[in-house]
Symmetry: C2
Subunit: 417 residues, 2 copies
């Protein structure tokens, strides 16, 4: 019997066949060696979108993705990490979680990606404060000094992922099996041992609590089989985290939150960050239920802020940036057209407006929103402020904000008949 | 052909036949003359729950219900009224709307019912401030002096309604055709010309905006055919209006709202009351869009409060009660178990708790809630306070509040897996 070609394997998957470890290795190897063209890669993605993958197939994918790239090791140290499934604009929690966790003494060499479809990836946001491009070997020596880092992912870690993501983005598809393989393969290649996964639910990729629970349980289970200890936190994703969207504005809000000195000054960004950092602390042996308050203490004592200064310095930045983060040249404010309550904040509309304003390429571009669900806003008060360095982009973003109404304001009277 | 018996008419309705005006008149007359037993009335209600009624049948019902009772006339004056479809606890808007509308100079002799399934009907709440039981003839002479009143409905107005409601309550059914007939027949018998209907949507009898619009349009259309000018306001009913539930507590909150002197002090109760009063002002000829601000001005200028004093006095009460409304002997506070945001306030659970505490029979019994949707509440702050004169009722209500959790508090972390 002659061996099937890669395309034959992909077609077999498409009509419902399960592939073996060797067969999946062959496909991933071929992508890695540029032996598959875009249509063939698209076929592989379609086969997953259509039929899903068994956990065994996902395990084979993870193994193959790790094998086809660079692997780094922190020797006998336990390495912690945090990953978000994404979809919520303004989710700058990494810029709080990393300094909090590192200030406690745990190793957290966080690698983040740049924005693909969002107004700012964590790497884009961190780059406002310090350089983020490093080789994996540099990461090892740097993190030994500061315990924490926020850098861009090394391109040599799971390099096939970039080829696959390129086609996924073009197709507008991100099958669950591909997403899980890609996340976990990178963690294994980066030498991570313990991971908290943030699963934002509602208005994100994950539509319901049931979906969130199912995918979380699947990730935890697959993690176990590859020696990765995982806890998942289902978080509320129905509106932005904090109020700022866009690289500079998000960096600024993260820094402001690192500077709080009283727990009364908390907000959705701080709540979510300390929730997730607390889960990592409990994975390190802290008594169940005590993790969050340790995280909050590290924040209000200023220890996390001090740690952030060290991290900025070791990444080649100047900690003085924490005192004044540059603003965009142009701004435009939309006032609230009526007194009422915020009943809806639309993530996808805000993302479009922030990107039209120029984010993430224009680092200062973005949006600040002045109301979250349930807030009361008075007629004439600011509702939304758009920032951009380019005045044409600003006016395009403003137009979209005025017509698409990303923040819905309602009074008690909904309609008169 | 022998004439059908009433029961034969009802059976014909049940299998889908439309009844004529004379046939419906025969049924209503028989109920009025106690010629139908409970089972026959139940059949008539079932026939409506099962098959609905045409608008012509509803018109016949209204005519018959008016004919079988007392009718009053205010001669050539235009009489205004407000009616709420109900289902929202704490809906004490009448106690603001009537003095606001009367202070403007419009006649609004509001008749209200006592609670059937709620913790407080408007008549129960008003009775905390002044007597409410009057004959229709007394209402005419009183309202000529004050323009406004808040009294209990005269039992001789549409008396069949009480017989029908008794059976509906027992069956747990309130068919739309019966509800619309009952509301509009009483308005016609009371000599009303212009009416604003409050249609609370979500968590009430009306589940969706679509349903709210359909029923509103139906009521407006039927009103037109009987010479009643109606506007409907669809209002948000997903949580209580204001924060207090129970006769005394609601009266207290209404009085506090009548005392505001600055528009910044507004709340959901004031917003809704001025929205609905504003609709009545626009029906009286005020330019479209200006009604609400007139209502707000009458409130903050103290004119509505002065009017309320006159109304209390003419109904035989002492306006001094506005300075201090008596409290229950016993109270119990539930503290917020965690810092977080209010994500849900359950109307039906709050109604059950307030009724267990003794409302409406124990006028001082009820609940004050300290958070509405979107509010942030800190761990240890008061979340809910229960009031009762009877300590046994208090402990029963407290138990239910602790176990059923009518106010849902969530942080950013929804669940950990």
């Amino acid at each position: 019997m002659t061996e099937e070609t890669t395309m034959e394997l992909i077609k077999r998957r498409m009509i419902g066949g399960e592939l073996s470890e060797n067969e999946i290795m062959k496909i991933i190897n071929d992508i890695s060696n540029k032996k598959l063209n875009d249509i063939e890669i698209a076929g592989f993605i379609f086969s997953q979108a259509l039929r899903g993958m068994t956990n065994n197939e996902v395990l084979s994918m993870i193994k193959a993705m790790v094998e086809t790239g660079k692997k780094i090791s922190f020797e006998n140290q336990i390495i912690y990490d945090k990953h978000s499934l994404g979809g919520v604009p303004g989710n700058k929690v990494t810029l709080l979680i990393v300094p909090i966790v590192a200030a406690y003494g745990l190793m957290i060499p966080k690698t983040s990606s740049r924005a693909i479809t969002s107004p700012s990836g964590t790497a884009d946001t961190m780059e406002v404060l310090a350089p983020v491009e490093f080789q994996a070997e540099e990461v090892i020596s740097m993190v030994n000094k500061t315990k924490g880092l926020v850098v861009e992912a090394d391109n040599d870690i799971c390099p096939v992922d970039a080829d696959i993501i390129g086609i996924e983005h073009y197709l507008g598809l991100n099958p669950e099996s591909m997403m899980v393989s890609s996340i976990l393969a990178k963690k294994i290649a980066m030498g991570i041992n313990r991971l908290v996964i943030d699963v934002p639910v509602e208005g994100t990729k994950v539509g319901s609590m049931e979906d969130g629970q199912r995918i979380s349980q699947r990730i935890v289970k697959i993690g176990k089989k590859i020696g990765l200890e995982i806890k998942a936190g289902l978080t509320y994703g129905g509106q932005p985290i904090g109020n700022n969207i866009g690289p500079t504005l998000e960096a600024q809000e993260a820094v402001e939150s690192l500077k709080i000195t009283h727990p009364d000054k908390t907000n959705s960004l701080i709540e979510k960050s300390t929730d997730l950092a607390g889960i990592l602390f409990e994975m390190s042996g802290v008594e169940k239920g005590k993790g969050k308050s340790i995280a909050m203490d590290l924040l209000i004592s200023g220890k996390a802020l001090d740690k952030m200064k060290q991290i900025i310095e070791i990444q080649g930045g100047d900690p003085k940036i924490l005192n004044e983060i540059p603003k965009s040249q142009h701004q435009e404010t939309i006032e609230c057209p009526r007194t009422g309550y915020v009943t809806q904040v639309d993530n996808s509309k805000l993302i479009k407006i922030a990107r039209l304003a120029g984010a993430p390429e224009d680092k200062t571009a973005g949006i600040v929103i002045f109301g979250k669900r349930g807030d009361k806003i008075k007629k004439g008060s600011p509702l939304l402020k758009i920032y951009a360095n380019n005045s044409k982009n600003l006016s395009k973003a403003l137009d979209l904000a005025l017509t698409s109404k990303p923040i819905k304001i309602e009074g008690m009277l909904l309609k008169q008949i």
